[in-house]
């Protein structure tokens, strides 16, 4: 059995090694070996699947908490230095405020003698998170190798800081493992701060003005969440001076009177980290970073840390007004972010809004927090991580070949890059079509919301928001599959490691839909059962029908064979005018006219600015409301 500390420490060691290695060959070797070992180690966690309840692993080093505090202070100093350098005074103020809170917490904590032994733990939810981080995270690391060398060829002005890039990526993985396996809240906070730092530095990788600004935007918003988190720690110390409640599991199992305020504060931190409105700006801005960073932030790390903590606190939030309002923040975000995605033609922006929407949905499920909804939320986390990482990496690959990430430039991609297109197609299908993953979760969420208190509002949000997602995904699919007869094939020159990663992720997207009943039975259901005492699943006949639909979808492409003798190909109908295959026709007065086709974006209906204003106002109002309610409880 691989001990949990290994998963936390090993990526950090690989990171340190990568910081020292400047040679490309050695770096390649270290990343491959590191990623393979992390992947294998996270898979080996499956052998220690706990049957019910968490398994604890006490960590004997008492001084570790003090070391972490020292590191946090060092990070604060470092960030303040960067803030002064780039003249970001708001960031400096926020960092100072957070540091002051931390110092006050730490003095309080150190002054009381207590026998609390910080634990690492594993239960099914941590295990699922661990698998996502370990498998998808390490696949993205491998992909980055090929991507970053092309990136620096294509962006000669960006200084080559690949050493720190890979260092940060592996530290990120280490921090994520720490976050999901820590039971001691000050440790969770420490790893939380590390992920904030890593994302800040990775977003600012290219050091252009835009990337620096967006990096600081992300930093400000995440520090705001960090402040709330630190506030939660101080509150816990105030109500339980012995410090027992600093352990996640004791806190969740304690009474509402103690746990609700920290749950809301940490929930707020989760909202900032998972980029719900009004904090969605940082995740959209984060796409200035190299694409593997986006893939990492959107799928296996960062935003998933945000929803992870909210899912953790779902049993505390369920049935409370506070939980309902946090759920509504998620619901409003889901609806509006889905609408905003319609007006975007930049593929990475569409993906960003879709991520924000899905995180909103996860938070809506976890905030309302009945057992069925938590089941759906965990399923969403899994499906989203796989399909979204696949899509980002596909877009990254396409961008390097055709020099654009605009969906309009992807016309006829099926002719130009057939294999990548099929992968992208599967990824998109995985995001919204039956019988693929995300749709299953939406379906279960609809069924579960009906029974929840005030669930009707969420059902309406899902009905309307769900159809909006259909629109923006299908028009993207349509662009890909348009067969323009004169396109040139440009699929050569993609490094093997990219192919390997993309193929694995594509296979996972499909397989997870077939295998999810097993995952549900062995991981999600036991977790929900251990927390709520009851659990749910999809009925057997629905599973059978969906398996049949999968089978049909897999054999449908063979229907092409039936028609292989049909050879009579004609150009598209152009009102009877003589037309060439590239859609040039002879117009009036003998002029040659060229046709180009462009998707609808409905700017005036689904415009980004307008909807962002509406969403931010609504969500900010809701957050203030929950803040007022919580302050009422706390005082």
């Amino acid at each position: 059995m691989i001990p949990l500390p290994f998963l936390v420490v090993f990526p950090a060691l690989v990171a340190a090694l990568l910081l020292l290695v400047a040679n490309e060959t050695w770096r390649r070797l270290a990343v491959w070996a590191g990623a393979a070992i992390i992947g294998a180690a996270s898979l080996s966690l499956l052998f220690i699947t706990p049957q019910s309840g968490p398994l604890f692993y006490p960590v004997g080093y008492e001084a570790l908490t003090e070391v972490m505090f020292a590191v946090e202070m060092a990070i604060a100093v470092f960030l303040i230095y960067l803030g002064i350098k780039h003249r970001k005074y708001l960031a400096i103020f926020l960092i100072l405020f957070q540091a002051a809170l931390l110092v006050s917490f730490e003095t309080g904590r150190a002054s009381v003698v207590h026998g609390v032994v910080p634990n690492l733990f594993i239960d099914q939810l941590s295990l699922i998170m661990g698998l996502i981080i370990g498998i998808i995270g390490s696949l993205i690391c491998i992909y980055s190798l090929g991507y970053m060398s092309t990136y620096h060829e294509q962006h000669p002005t960006v200084p080559d800081r690949r050493r720190s890039f890979f260092f940060l990526v592996f530290v990120f993985l280490s921090a994520m493992f720490g976050l999901v396996f820590s039971d001691y809240l000050p440790w969770v906070f420490f790893f939380w701060e590390i992920t904030t730092l890593c994302s800040f530095l990775l977003i600012g990788y290219s050091k252009t003005d835009e990337s620096v600004n967006n990096a600081f935007l992300a930093l400000n918003m995440n520090i705001l969440g960090g402040i709330a988190f630190a506030g939660a720690l101080i509150y816990i110390m105030a109500v339980s001076p012995g410090g027992e409640m600093l352990q996640l599991h004791s806190l969740i199992q304690s009474s509402h009177a103690i746990a609700l305020v920290p749950a809301v504060l940490i929930g707020f931190a989760g909202i900032t980290k998972s980029a719900l409105m009004p904090f969605s700006g940082w995740l959209v801005g984060a796409m200035v970073a190299p694409t593997p960073v986006s893939a990492l932030l959107h799928s296996s790390t960062m935003v998933k840390a945000g929803v992870y903590v909210i899912v953790r606190f779902a049993p505390v939030l369920t049935g409370t007004m506070e939980g309902l309002i946090i759920g509504l923040v998620g619901g409003v975000t889901f609806l509006l972010a889905s609408a905003m995605a319609i007006s975007q033609s930049n593929a990475k922006k569409v993906l960003a809004y879709s991520t924000i929407a899905n995180l909103g949905l996860i938070v809506a499920c976890a905030g309302v927090g009945t057992y069925k909804l938590v089941w759906a939320a965990i399923l969403l986390i899994i499906f989203h991580a796989i399909a979204k990482s696949l899509l980002f990496l596909c877009v990254g690959t396409v961008e390097h070949r055709i020099g654009s990430r605009d969906i309009e430039d992807m016309t006829g991609l099926i002719v130009r890059m057939p294999r990548i297109s099929v992968m992208m197609f599967i990824g998109i299908a995985g995001m919204f079509l039956a019988p693929f993953g995300m749709l299953i979760s939406k379906w279960v969420a609809i069924e579960a919301f009906i029974e929840a208190q005030f669930g009707l509002a969420f059902v309406a949000i899902l009905a309307f928001g769900g159809s909006l997602t259909v629109l923006f995904w299908s028009k993207w699919m349509g662009k890909i599959v348009s067969v323009c007869p004169v396109a040139e094939k440009v699929e050569n020159g993609i490094p093997t490691e990219k192919w390997i990663v993309l193929s694995i992720l594509t296979a996972l997207t499909v397989l997870i839909c077939l295998a999810f009943p097993v995952i549900s039975a062995h991981l999600i259901e036991p977790f929900v059962l251990s927390v709520y005492g009851q659990t749910t699943r999809l009925s057997q006949d629905n599973l059978t029908i969906m398996a049949m639909m999968h089978f049909l979808l897999m054999i449908m492409p063979f229907s092409m064979l039936l028609y292989r003798n049909d050879k009579r190909i004609v150009p598209a109908y152009m009102g009877g005018r003589p037309t060439t295959p590239d859609l040039t026709f002879s117009g009036s007065m003998g002029m040659k006219q060229h046709v180009s086709l462009c998707n609808y974006y409905f700017e005036e209906v689904f415009g980004e600015q307008k909807l962002f204003m509406v969403g931010s106002a609504l969500c900010l109002g809701l957050i203030l409301l929950v803040g007022t309610l919580t302050a009422g409880v706390a005082l």
């Binding site: 016309t411 006829g412 099926i414 079509l433 039956a434 019988p435 379906w443 609809i446 069924e447 009906i450 009707l456 059902v459 309406a460 899902l462 009905a463 309307f464 769900g466 159809s467 909006l468 259909v470 629109l471 299908s474 028009k475 699919m477 349509g478 662009k479 599959v481 348009s482 067969v483 323009c484 007869p485 009925s539 006949d541 629905n542 029908i545 969906m546 639909m549 049909l552 979808l553 449908m556 492409p557 229907s559 092409m560 039936l562 028609y563 292989r564 049909d566 009579r568 190909i569 004609v570 150009p571 598209a572 109908y573 152009m574 859609l583 046709v595 086709l597 998707n599 609808y600 209906v605």
Partner: protein
């Protein structure tokens, strides 16, 4: 699950759908002061389509159209077998996405615009259909069509708002004016035949066949509202369909903006108000 019913649907729906289309054309003709074609004309038309030479813009069209037909049949079959109505709706959406992709794949201006409009129509009607399913669940406590069918009271009493909302989107689904944006039964469309412009011969025959299947499925959905009494239900179907023909002949085509707005507003007001009242009632007096 009643697999026999699914089988009956697969075998009989084309006949029923074709007859309905024939009656539709006959009544429409009479309304316009014409004699109209024979009742069986739709069958002759589709039969002739299958005898024609297959002309393609791109071979991949075949794949999308076949998938469209297959998944329409799957969703209808699942519906008549008494399956989970949400799954039926999702399979139904999947089928239409295939139709849209088929239109996109040809890279033709007319079918491209048709595809975009078809997508708008999908997002216009989908929320209302999901809300209808939710309404049926709230009344019968089950998502299974079999259980909803078995309800011993008229669903329409509890779901009048939902029913009106559903009629609204039914006009879209039957491709009737004023909502025949993406393709039309009539040959006066400004974008030629919209989504189906580039489909011809046997492939177009499959599209027609799928449309018949689809219509029978939709009539089945309306039947659910009246399922407690089959006679009244069939009467209601006749009235509803006749009303659709009247609407088709009296309204002119509207823009996509109005289509989307009106169907969302109706879904929002009629559907949600209906659900809200049910929700409130079920909290006060359990049904």
């Amino acid at each position: 699950m009643h697999m026999g019913n699914a089988l009956l649907f697969i075998l009989l729906a084309p006949i029923v759908g074709g007859l309905v289309a024939g009656i539709d054309r006959k009544i429409t003709a009479r309304m316009q002061g014409r004699v109209g074609p024979p009742l069986l004309q739709p069958f002759y038309d589709v039969g002739k389509l299958f005898e024609k030479e297959q002309i393609l813009v791109t071979p991949s069209q075949n794949f999308y159209i076949t998938s469209y037909l297959v998944f329409i049949v799957v969703s209808g079959g699942l519906f008549f077998a008494g399956g989970d109505i949400l799954l039926v709706i999702f399979a139904f959406t999947l089928a239409h996405i295939f139709l849209v992709l088929g239109a996109y794949s040809s890279y033709s201006p007319y079918s491209f615009i048709g595809a975009e409009r078809e997508l708008i129509q999908i997002i216009a009607y989908e929320p209302m259909i999901i809300l209808s399913a939710v309404g049926m669940y709230m009344v019968t406590r089950s998502f299974y069509v079999a259980d909803i069918m078995a309800a011993e009271f008229p669903l329409i009493y509890y779901l009048p708002g939902i029913f009106i909302g559903f009629l609204m989107v039914l006009t879209i689904k039957l491709r009737k004016s004023p909502f025949d944006l993406s393709t039309s039964h009539h040959a006066h469309q400004e974008i030629v035949k919209g989504v189906t412009t580039e489909f011809s011969g046997p492939m177009f025959g499959l599209v027609e066949l799928a449309h018949w299947y689809e219509n029978v499925f939709l009539l089945g959905f309306i039947y659910l509202f009246f399922a407690w009494n089959p006679l009244i239900a069939i009467g209601a179907l006749a009235i509803v369909y006749f009303a659709e023909i009247v609407i088709d002949n009296t309204f002119s085509r509207v823009t996509w903006q109005l289509t989307l707005k009106s169907s969302w507003i109706i879904a929002g007001f009629m559907g949600l108000a209906n659900l809200g009242i049910l929700y409130y009632l079920s909290a006060v007096v359990p049904l």
